[in-house]
């Protein structure tokens, strides 16, 4: 028995999980865990947690779950970033060593893309899309809950790698042979492959769900060309997800086979082709960057008209550029590995296709500027992020065009120039966009408004911190500092710029703290949104109370044009003054179910078993997955009635029913 325990401790807690940072994380996880369990038990909230949240299929609640996860992961990825910047602040000063540095930058990248940006985007999809297109729910509410729990348990599997067994350390791209078992033993990379595979199933399901929702469930009269622009960007993003994730799944699954079962798809020896992994990864990876940026474009296309009090300039060209970005996004992936040396023809083709993307993107930038032109602009936090986005994203786009020039790329490849470029577009585009959307739709999600003054403090900290962090990194790249180096000697002239960059990173951290403080402060003291339309909005979600009742619309509205709610307000109409008691009909709502949670848990158990190659546990988890799917397939009792009286009562309490 002691030998068995010794083996367990040795496997689960090898020496590199017993360093100060890991022990600190252990302590924090323990304290937080005990705290949560204590509070839930003390206030008898376990039942509430299960019935209201863990089993919910309501898209508005799933949105909140996604948002909580995204902000927690933003914290984790941000702390990782600060650890990296601290290690690089001064030459030869290394608070964390080389090995841990590799683990932390791998975790930072993976978490920020897959477990921060993606759920943040899905939070806004879930919170907004059904309301915006005049629908009562998404097309497949249960699949929606399944998506969330697969994402959540995938994220959890990835996160525990830091303290149990050891983190992945081959970068967020997981290239072979860095991930090959011979060169990288231990559970770290298996964690990476399995958690991304599990979360990837959830992401694919979300793509399908929102594509079908938008195609099939728009309110009568809402033709495709009358859809709000955020719905358009969601449609295009969903299509990108459906086509982009299969290559990733294949690449990850084959790598896992290489590691776990000794196959040779991407190995150095035995006829494996490591570069094929790189090709497959970027077949996914390039559409992925559009998956995370297009929703931000959609958010800005909602925020700008609202706070400029004008309809969006060039609606049709906006749609055309979205769709052309979707197609072009599939034709540029080689620019991530020009230096593989595929030959001048291939590189020239993909260099040109990369430059082409700048055209539709530029069209969109000008359309936002022309929307603001002559408008009555209100400087809210949501609008501030948009106004910071335009110059930031233009710089990020321009440096991207410079990278698409193949000879220049051969010089800049894997330098800090590239690091600065992609943070410039991912933070300046995606994160600014998501924060803008967060401030804009927060009242609709939670029923209170985030404090604008505190929001502006957070905004300035974040934006100034961003520029102070990443502008020096362009210069560092030009001076020859390469990506992913854990330290550097004195005398290269790099240390001043690195110190500045680190100071900027901590300023961004302060901006994050300001955001969290703002959320907690506003939860208690923030202005309540009693009208449901705090920004004088233009689209249908603002026609509903905040937060919307569980059935969204007592009666589905009929749409006559773009900006339907604005047109209604112009005619002095609301949803309320059109609703008579006899119009309210009984509804059927999807019934809560514990299946998605159990499915996620089964995947987690099975994935954990696979990571350590403890086959009985892996098989047990796999059987759990099969059991959940069989249960789901034969569970016909998936709807519950909502009587008309209940709806009348709810609408009455909002004062939205005519006598």
């Amino acid at each position: 028995m002691p030998a068995f325990l010794l083996y367990l401790v040795h496997t689960l807690f090898p020496p590199d999980t017993r360093q100060p940072t890991e022990l600190g994380a252990d302590f924090m996880i323990l304290v937080t865990g005990i705290g949560i369990v204590y509070i839930l038990t003390r206030y008898k909230k376990w039942r509430w947690l299960w019935r209201e949240w863990l089993t919910t299929v309501d898209h508005k609640r799933i949105a909140i779950l996604y948002l909580i996860a995204a902000i927690a992961m933003l914290f984790r990825g941000g702390v990782d970033a600060l650890m990296l910047r601290t290690n690089l602040a001064l030459p030869n000063v290394q608070p964390i060593g080389a090995l841990e540095y590799n683990e932390v930058f791998t975790t930072h990248g993976t978490i920020m893309i897959f477990f921060m940006a993606m759920p943040f985007i899905f939070a806004l999809f879930n919170a907004v899309i059904p309301l915006q297109i005049g629908s009562r729910d998404v097309a497949f509410p249960r699949l929606n809950a399944m998506s969330y729990w697969l994402f959540a348990f995938g994220a959890m599997l990835f996160n525990i790698s830091f303290v149990v067994g050891g983190s992945p350390n081959a970068g967020w791209t997981g290239y072979p042979p860095l991930t090959e078992l011979a060169f990288n033993p231990g559970p770290g990379e298996s964690y990476y492959f399995l958690s991304l595979l599990i979360a990837g199933i959830g992401t694919t399901i979300t793509g399908i769900n929102f594509l079908v929702t938008i195609i099939r469930m728009r309110a009568p009269g809402m033709t495709l060309m009358r859809m709000p622009m955020f719905a358009w960007s969601t449609l295009v993003t969903s299509a990108l997800i459906i086509f982009a994730f299969p290559p990733l799944t294949v690449a990850l699954a084959l790598s896992l086979l290489d590691r776990t079962f000794g196959s040779s798809f991407f190995t150095l020896g035995h006829g494996g082709m490591p570069m094929m992994y790189v090709n497959l990864f970027w077949l996914f990876g390039h559409p992925e960057v559009y998956i995370v940026i297009l929703p931000a474009f959609g958010i800005f296309s909602e925020v700008v008209p609202t706070f400029s009090k004008k309809r969006l300039f060039g609606y049709t060209t906006m749609v055309i550029s979205l769709v052309s970005i979707m197609f072009l996004a599939y034709g540029t992936w080689v620019h991530h590995f020009f230096t593989m040396g595929a030959g001048p023809t291939v590189n020239a083709f993909f260099g040109l296709s990369t430059m082409l993307i700048a055209i539709p993107t530029g069209v969109k930038i000008f359309n936002w500027i022309f929307t603001m032109w002559g408008g009555r602009i209100r400087i809210t936090v949501a609008m501030l992020y948009q106004m910071a986005f335009i110059p930031t994203f233009v710089v990020g786009g321009a440096t991207g065009i410079m990278l698409s020039v193949v000879p220049a790329d051969y010089q800049l490849h894997n330098s800090y120039w590239v690091v600065a470029h992609f943070h410039n577009v991912l933070i300046g585009g995606t994160v600014f966009g998501l924060l803008s959307g967060l401030y804009y739709w927060w009242p609709k999600m939670f029923g209170f408004i985030l404090n604008e003054r505190q929001g502006k403090v957070g905004f300035w900290l974040f934006v100034i911190g961003f520029w102070v962090t990443f502008l020096p990194q362009y210069l560092l790249g030009l001076e020859g500092m390469t990506r992913r180096m854990y330290t550097y000697p004195f005398g290269f002239g790099w240390h001043e710029l690195n110190v500045i960059s680190t100071l900027g990173a901590f300023t961004m951290g302060a901006g994050f703290i300001a955001l969290v403080y703002n959320i907690l402060w506003s939860l208690r003291y923030g202005e309540r949104d009693l009208t449901g339309d705090p920004w004088n909005g233009r689209t249908l979600e603002w026609a509903l109370p905040s937060p919307a009742p569980e059935y969204n619309f007592a009666r589905i509205p009929v749409v006559h044009g773009v900006d339907e709610f604005w047109a209604m307000k112009e005619q002095g109409m609301t949803l309320a003054n059109q609703l008579r008691p006899q119009d309210v009909k009984a509804l059927e709502l999807p019934k809560n179910t514990g299946m998605p949670f159990m499915l996620g848990l089964s995947f987690f158990v099975g994935g954990f078993g696979m990571v350590f190659e403890w086959w009985p546990i892996a098989i047990f988890g796999g059987l759990g997955v099969v059991a959940c799917l069989i249960y789901a397939a034969f569970d016909y009792d998936d709807k519950e009635p909502l009587p008309a009286d209940v709806i009348r009562h709810t609408e009455g309490t909002f004062g939205r029913l005519q006598a």
Binding site: F243, M275, L283, Y330, V334, M340, G341, A342, G343, V346
Partner: protein
């Protein structure tokens, strides 16, 4: 020409020559097509596996044969399980399906083009 289904939605008339696209939502009974489709898909899979494991023929011919088996498999999956033939009225799913094929072939084709680099530089 139109008929009503049990949930009251109206079906468009099926054009002559396109009867195979007619909806099959209301047909109930033992799903023989699905069971046989499952059996055949397993047969195709194991046939390909056995041919490769046994090195049953010269490599080029082997590649051609398993590609042919793969095409048969794809057709089977689309026809039996992926609702290729089911539609209320116009078969709108054929359009995005064509798009999907276009993207898939374009991606596979360009990937082969890119990965030929070894012959280009060595």
């Amino acid at each position: 020409m139109s008929e009503h289904t049990s949930d009251g939605t109206e079906l468009e008339a099926v054009e002559p020559g396109l009867e195979f696209l007619a909806p099959k939502f209301e047909v109930e009974g033992f799903p023989w097509a699905q069971v046989m489709g499952y059996v055949f898909s397993l047969l195709l899979t194991f046939a390909a596996l056995l041919l490769v494991v046994d090195h049953a023929m010269p490599p080029i011919l082997l590649l051609a044969v398993i590609l042919a088996l793969a095409l048969g498999q794809a057709g089977l999956q689309l026809g039996v399980f992926m609702h290729l033939r089911e539609s209320r009225g116009t078969a709108w799913q054929l359009l995005p399906l064509g798009l999907a094929f276009f993207i898939a072939f374009a991606l596979v084709g360009t990937s082969i083009w890119i990965m030929l680099f070894k012959t280009g530089v060595s």
